[in-house]
Assembly symmetry: C2
Homo-oligomer: 217 residues x 2
């Protein structure tokens, strides 16, 4: 067992990740580097080096939005719990998840939709220009894609649901819709993803944004 | 895109997982089946079919403890957020995470240890026979292993930290210590794991325990 200071563990981990990416012959575009490495740091899964898909300038546009204090909306309380509150607070942003709200449950029952869809509908009324970080529900991601087609302009779509039913398809649809409408997006194509991945993408962006204005994490 | 009712998505996912395990030639012991499948459901990562390691009767012993109302202690608020509150409440259990406590931060500073270790020390004073679900910090898992060597008797150790530094080693040590001391343990050997995996293992156990006494999830 290596005796290593807690503050050095992350740096050592990132060095190992960089080295093993090199051994796999993977060269990350500079703009994507921090996001991809943080997702691998969170999952220990190098598949994400190939699965993560970015629209042009997605990272720079997302950082700019977070520096303006954009809110982050998630589709799980687990992703909300994993996002760095100190970094977000320094940037003046906030994080919201409406999944457990009573009025969301009621709206879903009345309309015969999923709670995740109803939660997104509530979110876009309050935070139409938020970063939407979807780590669980393909229906939430598809609803955001539909709303973009109707004119919604989120700061960023993080589309990383995980699973076996409609997940792969929902991410393909979201990527196409975001590309066609000029909306920045970061998606984990394929089956993999999850709340931890959603939080990791958010944190990589928050840390970079905070660093940009000289705030230490 | 398949039109499928939300309540059928999980069942369909589990059928796909069962089929693809078969295609990979993987036959799960009956006792491990629900835990392994739920972790794959949460991660879409079939590596866990081979990574997850169980001490003898770990699942049955854990279910019995949860039916007695055993508490669950986690090392991240993210894992806490991911554990099913309805199932836990039905069983009379509770879930605790001490990572964000001010006295834990102070104890860690004073002793020069990690917050995760200090959080475990606080936890074992209050809940010595809990289920300890460690999804992040190898130092937390190692501290639990040391305390077991000193006589601690947790109901179950879920050891699924994720990462690149001391993670693999911490899980090997924990497995050896649990085996030597007759403590039930479920570990994700290797680098992979995480808060989502910790929550998935807990939920698989909680659902089975609730089902056993005729409570519907």
């Amino acid at each position: 067992m290596k005796h290593i200071l807690p503050e050095d563990i992350e740096q050592t981990s990132m060095s190992i990740i960089a080295q093993e990416l090199g051994e796999r012959g993977i060269v990350l575009p500079k703009e994507h580097d921090a996001v991809v490495k943080r997702v691998i740091h969170t999952t220990a899964d190098f598949d994400f080096a190939r699965n993560l898909s970015f629209t042009p300038n997605a990272v720079d546009l997302a950082k700019a939005a977070l520096l303006r204090g954009a809110a982050i909306v998630t589709d799980t309380n687990m992703a909300r719990a994993g996002i760095s509150k100190p970094a977000l607070t320094k940037l003046g942003g906030q994080i919201r998840c409406f999944m457990a709200d009573e009025d969301v449950a009621r709206a879903a029952r009345e309309k015969g939709t999923t709670r995740a869809m109803a939660a997104m509908e509530k979110a876009v009324r309050q935070y139409p220009n938020a970063v939407f970080a979807i780590g669980n529900a393909p229906t939430a991601l598809l609803r955001i894609a539909e709303l973009i087609e109707e004119g919604l302009q989120p700061a960023l779509v993080i589309g990383v649901p995980v699973g076996f039913v409609n997940v792969v398809e929902s991410k393909k649809v979201a990527l196409m819709v975001c590309q066609a409408n000029g909306i920045p997006a970061i998606l984990a194509m394929g089956r993999k993803g999850g709340s931890g991945v959603a939080a990791a993408v958010c944190n990589a962006l928050l840390y970079q944004a905070a660093e940009e204005i000289g705030l230490v994490n």
